[in-house]
Each structure stands twice: as C-alpha cells, then as structure tokens.
Amino acid sequence: MTSPEPIIEVSDIGKRYGNIIALADVSTSVRPGEVTCVLGDNGAGKSTFIKILAGAHEHSDGRLVVDGVDRRFSSPREALALGIATVYQDLAVVPLMPVWRNFFLGSEPTKGWGPLRRMDVGFMKRTTKSELSAMGIDLRDVDQPIGTLSGGERQCVAIARAVYFGARVLILDEPTAALGVKQSGVVLRYIARARDRGLGVVFITHNPHHAYPVGDRFMLLRRGRSMGDFPKSEITLQELTARMAGGSELEALSHELAAELGSDSELAKTLESEVKGLRT
C-alpha cells in the first residue's frame, strides 16, 4: 500500500518548560486514512505531544509541518482552522441534553430572521442521525439525552461531531482509558470507521492491545523521549508490548488482561489469542 502525502509531519519536535525537558526528539507523521498511535505510560509525554498538535502549547524545538507548511500554533483555534480537531476525555457533552442538541451545540444552524430566527431543528435531527449512522452508530431516537448513551457511543458522537465540523485530523486523547473491554472495542471500530472515511487519526493510548488492531503507525514515548516510530509492517504486537513495559509489568499486564476476558466481542477474542502468544 503506497502511503498518501502526510497531513502532519513532526520532526525532532520538543518542548521545554524552563529547564525541564518535557519532550524531546519526537518524529512521526499523520496521513489521511491512517491511524497514528502514540503510546506511552503515564508521564511519558503523551499529553505534551497532543497539546502541541492541538495548538494548546507551542513547541520549542524541531518542526511541525502541516500540508507542507511550517507551523507554530499559538491557540487551539489555529489548529482547528487547519482541520485538526481534538476530542478530549471529558468529551464536552451535556448529559441531560438530547443527542441532536449536543451534536450542534455552539454551532447551531438557524433559519428565519429577526425575532423569528430559530434553530433548523429538522435539519439538525436529520444530520445528527445520518452523520452518526455514517460512523456506524444507529440511534433509535436522536431525542434521547446523550447521558443515556454508553461511554463508547458518547465518544463516537464527539468524534462524529468533529468530523462533521470539518476535521481532517482527529486527535483522540485516551478514548478507551475509562472504558471496559467491550466498550473499547466499540470505540476502536469507530476509529477504524473514521480512518476509512479518509481522516488522519492520532490515537493516544497506553494500551498496545487497543492500538495494534487499528493502528498503521506506532510512536512510542518513554520519559519524554521517542522510543521509535514504526509502521505496522515493522513491528508485532509482542514487540510493541515488550518495548512499552518491562518484564514484571508485562506479567502483570497479561494477568490483568486474562481477568478481563470472557466477553464475546471481536476485540476480546483478538486479545485472548495475543495474550496466549505472549505467554508462549
């Protein structure tokens, strides 16, 4: 498979806060229709890295190239204007409000004028439904409060919203961190769906088992430094896991995963076989 031109290319990027080096020598790329996974344990520099991409922090070293042009973001708005959207962990949804109101919150389309200017409710409901079904979520009723959706579905609404409002690159900050195995599988499917729609996805996670099935490229961070940037063809899940965690941690991880099994989802089956592979 020949890769298209990258939307984002970072080379030797770094961030210093005074004399503290939070991130150094990180290089990777994000291409349309590909998922770039950023893997690392807590404190590895994942948040610093996405904040640079999202425009929340300016980088202090290296280059950030978007569409072939050198960039330096001083606000999230600039990143957004280039189609780089970030879905944070809290998702920015209002639980008690219906799905369709949440979908358009802050950017409601209107019709009519003067005192009769009103939201185009019919358009909003139709669009919410069609955008969500394009992402593979088939809601019975877009009028239900978004709080009644599962965590995975809510994540997906946030993703669909970013896509609808013009995102070309989606940055997902630990979307599976708070979810169980089954819900994580749901979110991973939507990540794949977004990728298939031609978006570049930056998927931040500390779980190689979540990253490997959907990722095209893996960038590992440890203690603020890049441990390498690999296309999927050059690395196996075992290698990925081994690079991320040391021996005893690996043992604990496999126990933890074994305890999580029992669900009949695709992901669980994949995990099961991978864990067996790890043990042998």
């Binding site: 944070y88 809290d90 998702l91 920015a92 949804v93 209002v94 639980p95 008690l96 409000m97 109101r101 358009f104 919150l105 802050g106 950017s107 409601e108 209107t110 200017r117 009103r118 939201m119 409710v121 019919g122 409901k125 139709r126 439904k129 019975r140 009723d141 877009v142 009028d143 409060p145 709080g147 009644t148 959706l149 599962s150 965590g151």
Partner: protein, 352 residues
C-alpha cells in the same frame, strides 16, 4: 394544554421503524411539565367539587389573577434555574420597580412613561450586576442574589420612607397620563362573565415567548447547556457569561414587568411588596419540573406551577379553611416535586 404541542417538531425528523406506536404518549410522559399538569388538574377538580365558587367565572378570575403575576416571575426564574443559577432578589425587585415609578411620578413629578423607562433600566442594571458578580467571582448565585435581595429590601423601606415619609405609594391615579400604562398593565376585560386582568395575558405571552426561546432558538440551546455542563459548553464555544448574565437580566426585567402590573392594577405598591415571594417562584419552577442543579426544566411547567399556587391560594379561601394551610401545602408540593424530578434526572443521566 401546551405541553403536547412542544414535542411536535420531532415529526420532521425521519421516522424510525423501531419507534412505533405509543411513542407520542411516552414522549409526552417524558416532558418535564407532566407532573405539574397532572397536579394542576387534580387541584382544579378538587376545589371545583368541594367549593361552590371555585369553578365559576368570577372565581376563576380571582385565581387566574393570583397565578398570573407569580407565573411571570416563575417562568423567568425557571429560565435562570435551567441555566443553573438562582435569583433571590426577584421578589424584592417587583416591589423595587413599582416603588421607583411611584416615587418618581407622585413625588418628583416625572413623566410616567419616562419613570417606567428609568425603572426598567435600573432593574436591568441590577440584573446585569447580579450576573457579572456571579460570573466574575465564581460565587454561588444563591449568595450573591441574597445580598442583592437584602439591599433592595433595605432601599424599598428606608429610601422610600425617607423620600415620601411613608411605606406605600399614594395618589398614583392623579399622575398625568396614568390611564395609558393603566390600560396596558392594569385593565381587565370581561370574558363570559368573569374579569380577565391584563396580567393574565402578559403571563401567557411571557410563557409562550420563553417556551419558544428555550425549545427553538440557539439561546435556548445555550441555556440548557450552561446549566447542564458549563465547562463542556465553554469548550464547544457557547458564550457562557453572556448567556448567564442575560438570564439574570431577564429575571430582573420580569421583576419590572410584574412591578408595573401590581402598580397599575392596584394603583399602589407597598415597601414590602414581593418580599418572601422569591421562594414561591422557585417552588413553582421546581413543581414545573426544573432541576435545582440546572440543565433541565420548562417554562410551561413553571407557569403550571404558578397556576397550582394561584388555585390553591384562592381555593383554600373558598373552602373556608385557614389560609396558613397554603404554606404547608406548598412545602409538600415542593418535596414531592423534588423527589419526582430527581427520579427523572437519574433516569435521563443513567448510562446503559
């Protein structure tokens, strides 16, 4: 009632075969004002059966008038509560604006329309200040507006007594052009033998406009959002401060409207007018389905809450009971409504 009509826009969305028969009923049952509607019907039937005058047109005229001024405030307070804030100064505001117009016209000889405009500007400025203080300091609006409430109460008593030497406005009817605003705010028309006061029409108008804003406009979307999850709302670009300050100004503006209605219906206002009513407004809003935590509620519900209040207020008189039972009844209604609302909220927020 208006409740079922509010759910109508769903008809334009493509229908789903899984949402079949019975969905209209279940949708209506999910509306926040359903409990208040059922209670209003129950109260009406109860007093209509147990008393002779309640269901007559003159009886209805009395309880509608009683409900109307409370109802206007309850609707404005409900909007604010949906936006996640309280306004305890709303009651004192009705007295303040009425007194301001009374003092400016009877004592200082200001043109009556000019005096009303000045009172409106004062009210909106106080509402703006309430909102600004809440947004800038991050203090609970309960405390900020409690402060405003006491300030207004003090002004209503001390300043009015210092200026006109008494605590009630007199001689309003002698003010030039009194008839013009009186026609707009204080007159009544006879409908099937009963007087319907201007305040009742204002009440219906305010409820209709508030419902329209809440359900159909961007601002309505923002009101639900700032009350439901302020941080999330800010993240997606909702102007949180502007929305909330606007809501405080709305409740102050409603206070002005009710102040005018009281002044021109009775041609007098006392220094203690409106004091103690602020909790009645909140009770009406809660009975109408508003959550104390914000993000959920309805204007029609608050109007129905006020209707229940008005009917009970007069029904107890017609039934010949001690009027103080009203307070006990309100307390029971409030507790029942809060429990019901909490159950609704839990159901709405529950993840599958």
């Amino acid at each position: 009632m208006a409740a079922p009509a509010d759910t109508a826009p769903a008809a334009t969305a493509p229908s789903d075969e899984r949402v079949a028969g019975g969905s209209v009923v279940s949708k209506v049952l999910k509306r926040p004002e359903v409990g208040a509607l059922a209670a209003a019907i129950a109260v009406f039937v109860f007093f209509a059966v147990t008393t002779d005058t309640f269901a007559t047109s003159s009886g209805a005229s009395t309880w509608l008038r009683s409900a109307s001024t409370i109802g206007i405030m309850a609707v404005a307070v409900a909007l604010l509560m949906i936006g996640g804030e309280f306004d305890l100064s709303a009651g004192a505001m009705t007295g303040f604006t009425g007194l301001a117009v009374g003092v400016m016209t009877t004592e200082w000889g200001l043109n009556i329309w000019a005096a009303m405009l000045v009172a409106l500007v004062l009210a909106l400025a106080i509402g703006f200040l309430n909102g600004l203080l809440v947004m800038r300091t991050g203090l609970p609006s309960f405390i900020v507006t409690l402060g405003t409430f006491f300030v207004l109460q003090g002004i209503d008593l001390a300043a009015v007594k210092a200026i006109i030497g008494q605590v009630a406005i007199q001689g309003m009817t002698n003010v030039p052009f009194y008839g013009q605003p009186h026609a707009l705010f204080g007159s009544n028309v006879t409908v099937v033998g009963g007087r319907v006061y201007a305040s009742v029409f204002w009440w219906i108008l305010v409820t209709a406009v508030a419902t329209w804003v809440l359900l159909k406009t961007r601002v309505g979307n923002w009101i639900f959002a700032v009350g439901g999850a302020q941080t999330s709302a800010r993240q997606v670009g909702v102007p949180v401060a502007r929305t909330k300050i606007g809501l405080f100004m709305t409740s102050a503006g409603a206070g002005w409207l009710v102040g005018m209605l009281l002044l021109f219906t009775t041609s007098t206002v006392q220094s203690n007018t409106g004091v103690g009513q602020e909790f009645i407004y909140i009770i009406c809003a809660v009975v109408g389905g508003c959550l104390l935590t914000g993000g959920y509620g309805s204007a029609v519900g608050a109007a129905l809450g006020a209707l229940i209040y008005g009917m009970t207020n007069q029904g107890i008189v017609y039934a010949g009971w001690d009027n103080n039972w009203l307070k006990a009844f309100l307390g029971v209604m409030l507790l029942g409504a809060v429990l019901l609302n909490e159950a609704v909220r839990r159901r709405a927020e529950r993840s599958r």
